[in-house]
């Protein structure tokens, strides 16, 4: 993962492991829908590049605070927690800002992945140049409105 974080980045390898675990907790893989979780390698790489673009300072601080609370409460790091404990730790109100940011990052990276988009009947490519088909619809639905007299106020 190092290649996707700029050299002057504050985020360490162990931070990345934790962030990846959080991403996979927010959007887990699904066997039922045959889709990866947000901790998938390619999707997480997108998360990392978003972090890099937006600046990682605040996220780093928030993660450090979360990790120290984890140590206090559970005696281990966030990534070592069971999925259930990790979920309840993230739900703790003291982590609200971190969670808010991670939801943004995770959703942005996850729902631009071609595999994920295909699974919700959207194209695995950018909207342009292919565009989309939109059915014309049945214009006879307009018949009752066509029958109305003009009803704008005449001045």
């Amino acid at each position: 993962m190092n290649d996707t974080i700029s050299s002057d980045s504050n985020v360490t390898e162990s931070d990345l492991v934790a962030l990846r675990a959080v991403a996979g907790t927010i959007i887990p893989a699904s066997e039922q829908y045959q889709i990866p979780g947000a901790d998938d390698e390619a999707i997480f790489r997108t998360i990392v590049s978003l972090v890099r673009e937006q600046g990682d300072g605040t996220l780093k601080t928030q993660l450090a605070e979360l990790q120290s609370r984890c140590q206090e409460r559970h005696g281990c790091s966030l990534q070592k927690l069971s999925p259930t404990d990790r979920t309840s730790e993230l739900k703790d109100s003291s982590n609200a800002r971190f969670l808010y940011r991670m939801i943004h990052l995770t959703a942005n990276a996850y729902y631009q992945d071609g595999r994920v988009l295909a699974s919700i009947d959207l194209k695995e490519e950018p909207p342009f140049p292919g565009g989309h088909e939109v059915p014309q619809g049945d214009w006879s639905l307009l018949d009752p409105v066509r029958k109305r007299e003009p009803f704008y106020t005449k001045v």
Binding site: I26, Y111, Q136, L141
Partner: protein, 533 residues
């Protein structure tokens, strides 16, 4: 260096600047437009990329405060529950606009006479009608003739498709017996004057990579430039200058290197929008005009109007268009004209929305708690993705003097020009209208089969329409410009953007802004011999 001197200086290359440049081009006068932003490239618009939603929230976002382009200026909007949405570049706000393209109604110009509120306009629908037609022709408007909510008006291309979302909502409106009609749209549904037709990219408000949406950089500007108008980008005007006779003499601006430049002009036309224009006028102080230019009435920056919006969306068991297809779809003007039994005056338009894009469904759903994160995410997400559609209500905002644009004493743009500061409160009339609109929209969506409905108001980032801050009128004490856009105080200064609106109507403003700019240009041409009398 030779003195930079022109006949006509236009400040701002957005909707109104483009239209007035086009309107005046045939005079063959030396016309220069200064624009602080850049030309846009269709190949850089977000829909060219997989991460288009992230880009749409970044450099192509609506808010100048968050977009952070050097071509933007900051706005202090702490004092307003509605935040400005704009774009600074050739085409102005039309780069990002949805392309909803309604005309005003005849009643919109007569609200004082009809409802005893605000003021009548000094012009009427019939005055603007030929200029609406001209603007429509250059823009390329799609729609369907015969809408009973309007006087007859031409349509140049077939309407946008109803799609699945439009069909659902049409059924809802029909079940209630209420008006709906395909929206007039500035989106080409057929190849039009060198522009390609819409291919339903579905992200019109991030810039149209197909070029089907009529942003003025690809409509009015090419015509105006072919006719000789010069457009200079990265030129940010600080102030309009005046001579000893109290006439506008040109402007001082910063070029792309931040160097101060002076340009002389016989006529100056402001086209910086309802926030940018009062900002520059208020910043143009002199011993003769200590309170800003054209401000003897004290009304520059007053009467700021947005359109307060409500949003009402339903979840449907059937699949809807979602992110596929343009934002424009159908509209309803059942509640457009005043009916005092509703508890408010004036009215609103419902604008159908085809649905939401995948990232925004996930982010908004997870943050609101509607879509869980963690276990259960996928199941609920799939009930939302391509299953949400609805509408917004665009409500007429009445002018109130305490809603203002002033100069911020501290905040400045990258060239050191004072930033605008907004002070705005939602009126009781607007609040009642918004709540009424939500109740009616809920009825429509439920009649259409929605299993749940979510709503809210105002749309915080929805300050798309900026109006009223240099209104037109015949009385110099009650208005800033006369009935053809000329300043009462400075006879060679004109304003053509949304600032001159007397009232806001309950529809999007750009078709009227462009028609007004063409009307002002036409009046100037008719009066060229005695323009300053």
């Amino acid at each position: 260096m030779a003195e930079d001197s022109v006949d006509v200086l236009i400040i701002g290359a957005g909707a109104s600047g483009a239209a007035v440049a086009y309107g005046l081009a045939e005079t063959r006068m030396h016309i220069v437009c200064l624009e602080q932003g850049d030309w846009m490239k269709q190949s850089e618009y977000p829909t060219n990329f997989m991460d288009w939603e992230a880009r749409a929230a970044g450099p192509f976002g609506n808010s100048p405060n968050h977009r952070g382009r050097t071509t933007d200026y900051p706005i202090n909007e702490d004092g307003s529950p509605i935040k400005v949405a704009n774009f600074n570049g050739v085409g102005g706000g039309t780069i990002l606009y949805a392309g909803h393209f309604p005309r005003f109604h005849p009643s919109d110009f007569r609200v004082k006479t009809l409802d005893g509120v605000a003021d009548d306009w000094p012009i009427d629908y019939d005055t603007l009608a030929p200029f609406y037609d001209e603007s429509d022709r250059i823009t390329g408007v799609s729609g369907l003739e015969g809408d009973p909510a309007y006087p007859p008006k031409p349509s140049l291309m077939p309407p946008l498709p109803l799609g699945r979302s439009g069909t659902l909502m049409a059924n809802g409106f029909n079940a209630k017996g209420w008006h709906w009609w395909p929206s007039d749209s500035a989106i080409a549904t057929e190849p039009y004057e060198g522009r390609d037709q819409c291919i339903n990219l579905g992200a019109c408000t991030t810039g149209c990579a197909q070029g089907a949406k009529a942003s003025t950089d690809i409509t009015f500007w090419p015509h105006a430039m072919r006719a000789g108008v010069e457009l200079r980008t990265r030129c940010r005007v600080r102030e309009v200058t005046v001579d000893d006779d109290g006439m506008a003499s040109g402007a001082i601006y910063y070029d792309e290197n931040g160097n101060e430049q002076t340009i002389k002009a016989s006529v100056v036309i402001m086209a910086c929008n309802g926030v940018g224009t009062p900002r520059i006028l208020l910043n143009s102080t002199s011993s003769r005009f200590p309170n800003g230019l054209s401000n003897s009435s004290g009304l520059v920056g007053k009467n700021l109007m947005f359109h307060p919006y409500a949003h009402i969306f339903g979840v449907f068991p059937d699949e809807v268009d979602g992110p596929r297809g343009p934002h424009d779809c159908i509209w309803s003007q059942e509640f457009y004209e005043t009916d005092t039994d509703r508890g408010f005056v004036r009215g609103f338009t419902f604008e159908g929305a085809r649905g939401h894009a995948p990232v925004s469904i996930a982010v908004n759903g997870m943050l609101s708690g509607d879509v869980p994160w963690g276990a259960g995410h996928h199941e609920v997400y799939r009930q939302r993705a391509n299953h949400i559609c609805g509408m917004v209500a665009i409500c007429e905002d009445l002018p109130e003097a305490h809603n203002t644009v002033t100069l911020d004493p501290h905040l400045k743009d990258p060239d050191g020009i004072p930033a605008p500061k907004l002070t705005y409160t939602l009126s009781d009339n607007s609040t009642r209208m918004l709540e009424f609109s939500i109740d009616r929209a809920r009825e429509v969506l439920e009649a259409a089969g929605a299993t749940s409905v979510q709503s809210g108001y105002p749309i915080v980032g929805g300050g798309w329409h900026l109006m009223g801050t240099a209104r037109m009128g015949t009385d110099p004490d009650q208005s800033v410009v006369n009935e053809w856009g000329r300043s009462h105080d400075v006879k060679n200064l004109f304003i053509v953007d949304g600032s001159v609106f007397v009232t806001s109507a309950g529809v999007n403003p750009t078709r009227t802004i462009q028609a007004l700019a063409l009307y002002v240009a036409d009046t100037m041409k008719q009066r060229l011999a005695n323009l300053f009398d």
